[in-house]
């Protein structure tokens, strides 16, 4: 990586510890790095561990889920080894997060202007009025009409699109270096989604903010991100530039995802579903987790587990047969 690495996740495993039994692994030994200003998308289906990975970085794991091993380094400092106070200071100021459902993530009994102003007051030491001015300014930047008046509104008085803009204004109020987005547009209508994605892209470009964008929508990731990680059953199975991965997937699951999603620009292409179901994470089989559903599987796939390895410059895949996947030759 040429640019300075901002965040690096190394061999991170998340799971639920259980008494007397091995822990249930939700995210299994994943590693990736995010450079300054880079936009990194993580795609995968429900239960693939993409949201948990994001929550681990933000230190917002739900009760019961723990980091089993590995490290999360931000500017070379291990976040997990950091004292709680300094990690808290980092949150909001350097690392911010945008959630999927703006209604549940906002405080319903606090005016939205005050909610945006809270972080600048605490982190940047601004006075009450200066923080409020910044809040109104941020709201204007996110395209909220009549921001001074809207700042006095409560979340329930605003529409879904406006609430999501409030979340964005809140997250960007301290000019963070890293923005974590968990499906920020899934609850929005398409025309509003389009506006919000444009806005995110533009604000990140203006302030050179890096983005980790978790979504299940392949179109959205193509529009917003440059780099892509594909997760399946808690593992990172492919990584590379979005355009390259979409043009020639090197992992059968990525190929399956692309083949099963309807593409507006190729209306006559037949949709090919991935047979079977994702594995039960509580009892992992040995071998590749995708093997039972894979059309390319060979004998070795049932016993050995493939690791994420470089297959091309700037491209990694966790598959023994990745060259064959690329050529599209089934077993």
């Amino acid at each position: 990586m040429s640019e300075a690495t901002l965040l690096s996740v190394r061999n991170l495993s998340l799971g639920v510890r259980r008494k007397g039994r091995p822990a249930t692994v939700i995210v299994d030994d994943i590693s990736f790095g995010v450079a300054e200003g880079m936009r990194f998308g993580i795609v995968g289906e429900s239960g693939s561990g993409k949201s948990m990975t994001l929550r681990a970085i933000a230190n917002l794991l739900p009760a019961g889920v723990e980091v089993l091993s590995g490290s999360i380094e931000y500017r070379g400092k291990d976040l997990r080894a950091m004292p709680a106070r300094s990690r808290l200071a980092l949150a909001g100021q350097e690392i911010a997060m945008i959630f999927q459902e703006p209604m549940t993530a906002l405080n319903p009994v606090m005016r939205v202007g005050d909610q945006i102003a809270e972080s600048p007051r605490r982190n940047l030491g601004l006075s009450k009025s200066a923080a409020m001015d910044l809040a109104v300014d941020m709201m204007r930047k996110t395209g909220i009409p009549d921001p001074a008046r809207r700042a006095r509104a409560y979340p329930h008085e605003l529409s879904g699109g406006l609430r999501q803009r409030i979340m964005i204004a809140m997250a960007l109020s301290c000019s963070p270096k890293l923005l974590l987005c968990d499906e920020p547009t899934t609850a929005l209508d398409v025309t509003v989604q389009h506006q919000v994605l444009r806005l995110l892209e533009q604000l990140c470009e203006d302030t050179n903010t890096a983005l980790i964008f978790v979504t299940h929508d392949l179109g959205v990731v193509n529009q917003t991100c440059r780099e892509l990680g594909v997760m399946y059953a808690g593992e990172l199975v492919e990584r590379g530039r979005v355009k390259d991965v979409f043009a020639g997937p090197r992992h059968p699951y990525t190929k399956g995802l692309l083949d099963s999603a309807p593409d507006f620009d190729q209306p006559d292409r037949e949709l090919i579903a991935i047979p079977g179901f994702p594995p039960n994470l509580a009892d992992r089989a040995t071998g590749c987790p995708f093997q039972p559903r894979c059309a390319f599987a060979v004998e070795r796939c049932a016993t050995d587990r493939p690791r994420l390895e470089s297959v091309l410059p700037g491209r990694e895949a966790a598959c023994f047969e990745s060259a064959r996947i690329f050529e599209g030759v089934t077993a």
Binding site: E45, D189, V192, S260, L271, A273
Partner: protein, 342 residues
């Protein structure tokens, strides 16, 4: 794709409207202020042809689900008529429900968790006397096989199935009474992409093999384009454009349709910078703007649009648009070219 016999409709609605009157504050009541009302549907005409998949698209609050509920008889419209063709005059509620069946969005909340799949299907088959009692079990198995499930599902409860399988059960339930029309309200939007494809294929096979007419409500235009023969676009309680699928996506004649198409996150092309990008969000159906209801967000609105309320008028064969400027819109540029490197 199946051939759609021209103009043979199975379900036709004319000038349907649905209004909800809203509560009024005490002061307003004494002050004699006019009672507010929410117009969920405002004069909708729609014609579902035999054997076609008609997609209904639009943003939240456009009234698509209200229309679906009216079609299956779960809601009574405030005004307008529903003609169910191929149904005897004066048919009762039971017969009507047999004619039109519904599949809901959320397969987790639309199935009763305490009733096994077998008794769910058997109950329906017996109530509507679809088959003689001795054949109920065989018919249930046939239904399950039809939607791609096995016989052993009969003893199971909905909680034992995954989201995609539950949606199959919901479809089997709708098919049990042998309906002519299936109304599907966002049936794939709660499912993962890889599962979504299998359910879409199932809908396609129902159309091809059983000749079902399907009203498919969705917000994902890529899905709509894949499955449907015709598309109706709704905005604030009205249909603003209707045409054949290929026609509407290559030659949209309403600025809102163009904005919708341009908002699709593209997988293989870059996003569009069309002058038809819209600002803001749909206004509330409590205060529908005067004139054309789209004019506050419309990039090409003129003074005339602010006063005159356009109706759906034909702009081509099988193509109608509710835009005063439909004939003057600049030609659609279509699919954008792939940009090099960003």
């Amino acid at each position: 794709m199946t051939e759609v016999t021209e103009q043979q409709s199975v379900l036709r609605v004319a000038n349907i409207s649905k209004e909800y009157s809203l509560g009024q504050g005490l002061l307003n009541r004494f002050g004699g202020a006019k009672k507010a009302s929410l117009k969920a549907l405002d004069g909708v005409d729609l014609d579902l042809r035999r054997g076609e998949v008609l997609a209904l698209v639009g943003e939240s609050g456009s009234g698509k689900s209200t229309l679906a509920k009216i079609l299956v008889g779960a809601l009574k419209p405030t005004g307008g008529e529903i003609h169910e063709l191929g149904l005897a005059e004066g048919a009762g509620r039971k017969e009507r429900s047999r004619h039109v069946q519904m599949v809901f969005q959320d397969p987790y909340s639309s199935l009763n968790p305490r009733i096994s799949v077998g008794s769910m299907l058997a109950g329906l088959l017996r109530l509507h006397r679809v088959v003689p009692n001795s054949e109920v079990r065989a018919e249930s198995i046939r239904l399950l096989n039809r939607v791609g499930l096995q016989e052993d599902a009969l003893q199971a409860y909905p909680s034992q199935f995954s989201g995609g399988q539950r949606q199959r059960l919901a479809i089997a339930r709708a098919l049990a009474v042998r309906p002519d029309v299936l109304v599907a309200d966002e049936p794939v939007s709660a499912l993962d992409v890889s599962i979504q494809a299998t359910i879409l294929e199932l809908f396609k096979s129902l159309q091809d093999e059983l000749g079902l007419s399907i009203l498919f409500i969705a917000h994902n235009l890529a899905v709509v384009q894949h499955l449907s023969q015709r598309v109706a676009v709704m905005y604030l309680g009205r249909i603003v454009e209707i045409a054949d699928t290929a026609e509407i996506f290559s030659n949209p004649r309403h600025p809102y349709t163009r904005a919708l198409i341009d908002s699709i996150p593209r997988m293989s092309a870059d996003s569009v910078t069309d002058p038809f990008e819209v600002e803001g969000e749909p206004p509330s159906p409590i205060n529908v703007p005067p004139g054309c209801r789209f004019h506050p967000r419309c990039p090409v609105a003129t003074d005339r649009c602010r006063t005159e309320d356009p109706g759906l008028t034909p702009v081509g064969p099988g193509h109608a648009s509710a835009c005063l400027l439909a004939a003057e819109l600049p030609p659609y540029r279509g699919v954008p070219a792939l940009k090099e490197e960003r």
